[in-house]
Symmetry: C2
Subunit: 334 residues, 2 copies
């Protein structure tokens, strides 16, 4: 859409969102701006300028857009309807009004999703938008969706999400003809819930998709397929289990490494190696998760996101903009 000689649109960051508020958002935005990404920081101007003052940010492509309200992590997602001046609503409106190309928020996931959906609407051919998560695997990462936007789904949603994710991985992550697995309880096409049986039939018939067939829970981290589609209930349980299990196992490993004087000495020697495993499992590597299917680019991060996650989310959003992800999604679904 944008002519090549026009400066690309900035990214709107809900700079008040997340467990730690403005601090990691501003620090991450400064880091992204240093590598050339323009960012609109949406939120309380006093607070945001105070945070900016901590960094040498005067010459960076950063701008503060005032928003007087913020939807807290413990409030209701439905509040986005009435609280029009909340930072997330101001940010999504910047996208709708053509002043920003994407919205990024580490705040209330439900509120971000609701605000994006209400303000931007759906892409043609999409019944329900879905959140795509990047899950670390033996082969890099897999794209898992939906991870929470839709607890009750219909078979055609899964087929639409497979298409959205295929375009996303191709355009933003450079994976050519990504393979699509349908999460089930057996590899055989006749195994699964009624939903999965019907979705399997739709996916098998879909043109232009690289459908692998059913995959099981154990396949996700093996990286059997590039994409794993499932309903938002199962996907959310899977994502939280996968992250939770990594933490629990690492806690056990840490305890084991301090369980004796001998182990403590050994721990010093294996520290670097184990650090690399922990890095692989660190969600901040991927920054934020795209909400696919809305008429605009939207990325939703962890409430616990640090500055690195915010920076990576902004870089990913810029990559999606530069690759015209939205146009490519429209073409694929329309």
């Amino acid at each position: 859409m944008t002519a090549m000689n026009v400066e690309p649109l900035p990214i709107a960051l809900d700079a008040m969102g997340g467990d730690s508020g403005a601090s990691p958002n501003v620090e991450g935005a400064v880091a992204a701006a240093r590598v050339g990404v323009r960012v609109l920081l949406v939120g309380d101007p006093v607070r945001l300028h105070a945070e900016l003052g901590k960094h040498a940010a005067a010459d960076l492509p950063l701008e503060v857009v005032p928003a007087v309200d913020v939807i807290g992590m413990d409030e209701h997602a439905s509040d986005v309807r009435s609280r029009t001046e909340a930072s997330i609503n101001v940010a999504t409106r910047l996208v709708k009004d053509g002043k920003a190309c994407a919205v990024v928020s580490m705040g209330h996931s439900g509120a971000t999703m609701a605000s994006a959906l209400l303000t931007l609407g759906r892409l043609k051919g999409v019944d329900r938008p879905a959140i795509l998560a990047h899950v670390p695997t033996q082969k890099g990462f897999a794209a898992l969706l939906d991870v929470g936007a839709n607890a009750d789904v219909k078979p055609q949603y899964l087929a639409q999400w497979a298409r959205l994710a295929s375009v996303y991985l191709g355009v933003v992550e450079g994976r050519d003809k990504p393979s699509v697995g349908l999460l089930s309880i057996g590899e055989e096409p006749h195994k699964g819930s009624q939903l999965v049986l019907e979705a399997h039939a739709l996916l098998k018939e879909a043109s232009g998709l690289n459908f692998y067939g059913n995959v099981e829970g154990k396949d996700i981290l093996k990286g059997t397929t590039d994409i794993v589609v499932t309903d938002g209930f199962t996907g959310n349980v899977v994502l939280k289990l996968a992250e939770g299990e990594a933490k629990v196992i690492f806690g056990w490993v840490r305890d084991a490494l301090t369980s004796s004087a001998t182990a403590k000495i050994g721990a010093l020697l294996v520290r670097r190696g184990l650090r690399s495993v922990a890095d692989k499992l660190d969600p901040s590597t991927y920054g934020a998760q795209p909400l696919l299917g809305v008429r605009g680019l939207a990325f939703i991060g962890h409430g616990s996101a640090d500055a690195k996650a915010v920076k990576n989310a902004l870089l990913r959003a810029a990559r999606a903009r530069d690759a015209d992800l939205l146009g490519r999604l429209s073409d694929a679904l329309g």
Copy 2:
């Protein structure tokens, strides 16, 4: 039922079941018999006597019950209907005919389930039997059900399973008033699928249950509740993901420990500690998973079960028999 001075009934082991056939089954049965558990080894007599010949088993309380057929791991569960002389069918008939108190199989899970259900029937008050898995947690283990018997469920099934699991944990594992969590995508009662919302209401009203409320994927390994109830689709995905992730993370840790000369020396010093973590995650500790809700005791194990798993499954079955699990389940549901 059994008078105190009568010898307790033996346990019927589908001795041909599992990826490795008779060998680990016989070895595990010999180990269980050495600590006083009577076992009926069901299967090909020639094969079983040959395996028994490898052990000093002559004086042990083991008996071979001939079965000429076996349902292979790749065959259809529905074969149990026609292949009446398959080892699993002979084993479940021993329970029905009062010649054994429980059936244990490391063979085809679906076939074992179908055979138990067809031969033994359901307990009064149970719509659908469920498989309960033991999942390692920070506090020991949690009981997760259903893990695969029922992909499509109704809210009342979840309430019945919560009751079955509560009795099982109390009677067989000695946990008093075990807490019950309902797997969902948020702790708040209003979050979740339609199924979960309705099940939540039923569980909240149920008398005699220690209902905690909703739990999330991350809570399972934390051990937030003793029991986690969910549909058989989500439960099966969760179980396979949890086991698969542990393997993947351990693979990464192993690679990290051999990534440099320094790390290799450190690995020798931390080996004992890491071994203890691997043991915690080893499914063979729990042996096999009870199929709850059928009119008889049935335990279903991993196809990859080793002799230790077979032994532990037989010991758990004996404990269930001695504690009159079946009578206690009937009382709780009837």
